[in-house]
Symmetry: C2
Subunit: 402 residues, 2 copies
């Protein structure tokens, strides 16, 4: 990608109407655009991060036999009335709208009832179970306040998965496998060691639930850690955390309300055991910004960075430009994604942008180092650059990407 062709611009000004660091940085770096409080569009660099997080989550959900589908935003009133969750007094985050004939519709803040209603058509026998389906969906939630940037939005992207099982044993086995899948997601994103699983007793709608909490100063939660034992319990050290995933065990409660049954081997009707498993994709992106950023800007892990390398020219001499073009091509051919800053701008401006955007590696092409056929390479997380030949450079970046 050529910087001269990327339409987004960076800004040195912290947006006055944003309190959260994640929204400030993402807006300044041109990753997101604020439509209104809690509602953000994702510009090309931001969309690339979302898609990469989705790819990791998708691979792990497929690995536990999740089947991907996509449900709808528009929701019929009836199915939510059946479980007592249509009433605004009970669920206070509904956005609602109307058809032309005044039929009231909801806009999906969750898809539990919608999934069950659909699965009733396809699940008949114990042979159809266990089964697990998931989606990446835009959820709409009418939050009273929205001050946490993309960590708690009124419109956001969520991965939600739903499992169905014949009994508690089959359910628990699957539930445990998803816990492991979630751990792999956090490990791959580089936040595994700071992420703890916490137990919650459930609430109005669930038997019990677990949350995955990542240590994060901008978090809304507090957990109590026993670091040596690597468990989160109500005793020793209080740390601020942000929820990066939650999983619910519904037992058969929702199935009973919605008459979701199957026939067992003995030919008897039984209620399906349900579980649901969420990861807020855009929230996770916000947590990565909050956790990893420094005074200069964001710091993306290699696996989800919009590109891996920021190539900056110093000056625009023929030799520098020609070499930079060749480097851009060589890196691209090697499967490395590049933001090539081909603008006629001051080096300091380019370096500041590379830091703000949090690109893992910055490569500088200048007359000075070209005399030795070397490139100045600096990791975003390091202060000191090193001088590398092109093959060493490619090997270094590709090695860290694999």
């Amino acid at each position: 990608m050529r910087r001269s062709q990327l339409f987004t611009k960076t800004s040195k000004t912290i947006p006055a109407d944003e309190q959260s660091r994640n929204a400030q940085l993402l807006i300044q770096a041109g990753f997101i655009y604020k439509v209104m409080a809690g509602v953000y569009a994702y510009t090309p660099l931001g969309l690339r991060v979302i898609e990469k997080i989705k790819t990791i989550v998708r691979e792990e959900m497929n690995a536990v036999n999740g089947q991907e589908l996509i449900m709808t935003n528009l929701q019929p009133r009836e199915i939510w009335e059946g479980t007592g969750r249509w009433d605004d007094e009970i669920v206070d985050i509904w956005f609602k709208t109307k058809l032309k004939d005044d039929t009231e519709l909801g806009l999906a803040w969750s898809h539990e009832e919608a999934i069950v209603e659909m699965m009733k058509q396809h699940i008949g026998s114990y042979k159809d179970l266990p089964v697990s389906v998931y989606q990446f969906q835009t959820k709409l939630r009418n939050e009273l306040r929205a001050k946490s940037g993309i960590m708690r939005g009124r419109e956001f992207v969520m991965k939600d998965m739903y499992s169905m099982a014949v009994d508690a044993k089959q359910h628990d086995e699957y539930y445990d496998s998803v816990i492991e899948a979630y751990k792999r997601v956090y490990d791959r994103l580089g936040i595994g060691k700071d992420t703890y699983i916490t137990f919650a007793s459930g609430g109005a709608f669930t038997k019990f639930s677990h949350e995955f909490q990542t240590i994060c100063d901008a978090g809304e939660d507090i957990i109590y850690l026993h670091r040596e034992k690597n468990i989160a319990i109500n005793e020793l050290e209080a740390v601020k955390t942000s929820e990066v995933g939650n999983i619910f065990n519904f037992g058969t409660e929702k199935s009973e309300k919605m008459d979701f049954t199957f026939t067992n081997e003995a030919g008897e009707k039984q209620y399906v055991h349900l579980g649901s498993y969420g990861i807020g994709i855009t929230r996770l992106m916000g947590v990565l910004v909050e956790k990893l950023s420094d005074a200069k800007g964001m710091v993306w892990p290699m696996v989800v960075a919009p590109v891996q390398v920021y190539v900056a020219t110093v000056g625009q001499s023929e030799k520098v430009v020609q070499t930079a073009e060749e480097l851009y091509k060589a890196l691209t051919v090697a499967g490395i994604e590049v933001l090539y800053d081909d603008r006629d701008a001051r080096p300091g401006e380019k370096f500041a942008d590379a830091d703000l955007m949090g690109i893992p590696y910055r490569v500088v092409v200048s007359e000075k180092t070209l005399e030795q056929n070397l490139y100045e390479v600096k990791a975003r997380t390091q202060d000191t650059p090193e001088l590398l030949e092109i093959n060493e450079l490619i090997k270094k970046v590709a090695g860290n990407l694999a």
Copy 2:
């Protein structure tokens, strides 16, 4: 994909509440699920088709330098009031909702105003132009009636692209390049020869527009064809068509209303020339069903079929099952996507499902042909099967996929 693990089931019963052939077939084959009139969820097989159509469209939009992003469903009232398009008397397909403080919001049926409002932050100089951005977005439109299945929905997926240029000449050049990109999309989907570009004089909101109309009996439009000249004009043959793409030239009208300007080389403020370019992804999917289906079911082009091969076993003898498993593996390794019907079901039932789902190739594994180390292979569009060795089979399918 193993059929025994795919949760969707097929149905022999035509859904009584669906008038359109596309919705009937897609529901019967388990590609979509009807939530309410004009609102459909996409189950795994249906989602795969959507994603493949999106990939083709994405590649062609990238080829004309489109930059992908994603806007929001929730829309602030102000920007649409500014262009006179908030009023339900003017735009009669709005879904509207409210924040907790009673602030009215719209749900995006289009993103023209939203894109312009955002781009105003990033476009300042003639050097920033031309630029083109696009998204794949779920649009919500409050249609009075919704009887055409996924061809005209209340909730549907659309690719919408927006171009910005310094003047009419720069705009026209880009506009023409998108026409060619659209033609490539239809060619790749196999409907290029039946797709005509028609001219419309515009309307309340545009200077002029073009539509791409595909011959389709279920279409809502009529065009007049001069087949020999391959042009659509008001004279000779009237055929029913469905719109599969539209492109609009706004000139500077919307920019003037929204004060969207740039500074030209002489330092003067000028209005940006705008274009917009839509392809209804789910509509296109519906048109493919309507156009290509036959009495037995759907017929997917190789490039967008959910899988390319349906492997069906005849009987479940050890040898048949073992060979089918090996074939499933060999095809997968060769990069061919397979729906492997591993169910203990009657062959006729499996064959009927392969036809209904419209999978391009059906491969039968039976004791009879295995004696000769051969597989019965039948293209969905042909009546007579042929007997092939495994390498011939792979070569045939992979050759048609490339």
